[in-house]
């Protein structure tokens, strides 16, 4: 990989253009800003979500689980959206930069998808009386999404030439993303076309209290900030891994050549 392939225009991502602010880790001025904002935001979210906001009229205090569940689910879809975009951009521009964006976002996406599933199930236990409800199209779709992107990460872990791996994973991501609306639609239709009345009301009452809506918004913003912070660090980790791989390969070739020259000189 050469440096010229790695700098698409406008690839700022909120970080300083001259990076490597701190040579000892993957932090920079940009990440610190996002980190501090995230921490402040988390403080707010805890105070609002667990303390200040009122109980819901129908859901009672269970609505407080929504302040982590809904943002996790939102980020699950956002990160896979970014992965899809990175994959398309990779196939178009063939730049490793976009491939690493897709890879980083997918890993974070799996994390948030898992979290959305777990919090959804915890919410479902007291609400539905069971951890799982097949009639909830969003929950089932999220599970399928989770499984598909575990497959994506598995594909990425297969040792291969960088370009082969990038191309392969970009297409896996596309196949998976195209499937998401189909899965959602089929699960929804599957249950609603069935005679059994689905007793599941929507997760959210549209007429919710202002403070509850505000708390939910805070949750969305805070989780997005956390995502950006994760992305910056994860991308740099991926970048360093690539550099290390290239570098060690170059070193090995160099060592081999030196060895050959050395033996050539002595004999």
């Amino acid at each position: 990989m050469t440096d010229t392939t790695t700098n698409p225009p406008g690839a700022g991502m909120g970080a300083p253009t001259r990076s490597g602010d701190d040579p000892r880790n993957t932090a920079s001025k940009g990440t610190r800003v996002f980190g501090i904002l995230s921490l402040i935001g988390i403080g707010w979210l805890v105070a609002l979500g667990l303390g200040l906001s009122p109980d819901d009229q129908t859901q009672g205090d269970l609505v407080r689980l929504m302040y982590v569940h809904v943002p996790s689910a939102w980020l699950a879809y956002l990160s896979f959206g970014v992965t899809a975009m990175g994959s398309i951009m990779y196939l178009w521009k063939r730049s490793e930069w976009w491939d690493l964006v897709a890879a980083s976002s997918a890993e974070i996406g799996v994390l948030f998808t898992g979290l959305a599933l777990v919090t959804g199930m915890i919410w479902g236990r007291p609400t539905w009386g069971s951890y799982w409800e097949w009639g909830d199209a969003r929950l089932v779709t999220t599970l399928v999404l989770f499984l598909m992107f575990l497959g994506y990460l598995a594909v990425r872990r297969i040792p291969a030439d960088t370009h082969v791996r990038s191309r392969r994973s970009a297409i896996v991501a596309l196949i998976a993303v195209v499937d998401i609306p189909l899965v959602h639609f089929s699960v929804k239709w599957w249950r609603t076309l069935h005679q059994e009345a689905t007793v599941l009301s929507s997760d959210f009452d549209p007429k919710i209290d202002d403070l509850m809506l505000f708390t939910l918004m805070v949750g969305l913003v805070v989780f997005t900030l956390v995502y950006v912070w994760f992305m910056l660090h994860r991308f740099r980790v991926a970048w360093l891994e690539e550099q290390l791989l290239d570098h060690s390969l170059a070193d090995a070739i160099e060592a081999r050549r030196a060895e050959a020259v050395g033996t050539g000189a002595t004999t």
């Binding site: 497959g151 598995a154 594909v155 082969v164 191309r167 392969r168 196949i175 089929s186 239709w189």
Partner: protein, 227 residues
């Protein structure tokens, strides 16, 4: 694109695959027995109770089709990577899109044969009376098209990898979840087990097939590039 070569190339690839498959007899001696074995296993697992088996026929049938389809896809590309045929296909100057259509076509034909045999299987072992032939056949055909399109994409992707035996089902089965739901529903409607509009599920399956055929035509080129 509209000239004969596209279709010719695709037919060539499909014919080659089917000929290889017929000659090796793996499909006949292993895949089909495996699919029938699945039906028998369902019988054991569900207490050998004919009423239960009949009620669940559509679901069990499509689970058997999906699992056997994974084997068929694996076979279709094991043939390729063993002999380095993928390189040959690339070097022969065929368009990737026509190679895709050819590979998917061969898998499609095998799936149709398998579906027919499994249909006989459920009639025999579960005692299911097959009805609603129009919907039954139409939905089986479009479901097979969707499975073979998605399967061909993942098949070429995992071909030649050491981990392909576990990776292919892990990638393919979640993506085929909508096909399993749709085909099961359509078949259930045809058999009169569930009162749903089976033809709308047929439309859904057709959309799935169209999307994955389109994706295959577009994505097969980049996938064939890799060596």
């Amino acid at each position: 694109m509209a000239d004969g070569t596209f279709v010719n190339d695709a037919a060539l690839v499909a014919a080659k695959d089917l000929r290889l498959e017929l000659r090796s007899r793996v499909a006949v001696s292993q895949v089909v027995p495996f699919a029938v074995l699945l039906l028998v296993i369902f019988g054991f697992a569900l207490d050998g109770d004919q009423t239960t088996l009949q009620r669940l026929t559509s679901g069990l049938y499509w689970v058997a089709v999906l699992f056997a389809a994974v084997l068929i896809v694996q076979r279709a590309f094991a043939v390729e990577s063993d002999d380095g045929v993928r390189d040959a296909l690339r070097l022969a100057g065929m368009r990737p899109a026509s190679v895709f259509v050819g590979k998917a076509g061969a898998i499609f034909v095998q799936l149709i044969v398998l579906e027919v045999l499994l249909g006989v299987g459920v009639a025999v072992f579960f005692g299911t009376t097959l009805t609603g032939w129009g919907l039954l056949i139409a939905s089986a055909v479009v479901a097979a098209a969707g499975i073979s399109a998605a399967g061909t994409l993942y098949g070429v992707l995992t071909a030649g990898l050491r981990v392909k035996e576990s990776l292919l089902p892990m990638l393919l089965l979640p993506v085929l979840a909508p096909v399993l739901i749709g085909a099961t529903r359509a078949m259930g409607a045809a058999l009169g087990d569930v009162a749903v509009d089976g033809w709308s599920w047929f439309n859904f399956l057709a959309i799935f097939a169209l999307i994955y055929v389109a994706l295959g035509l577009f994505a097969f080129g980049p996938l064939l590039e890799e060596s």
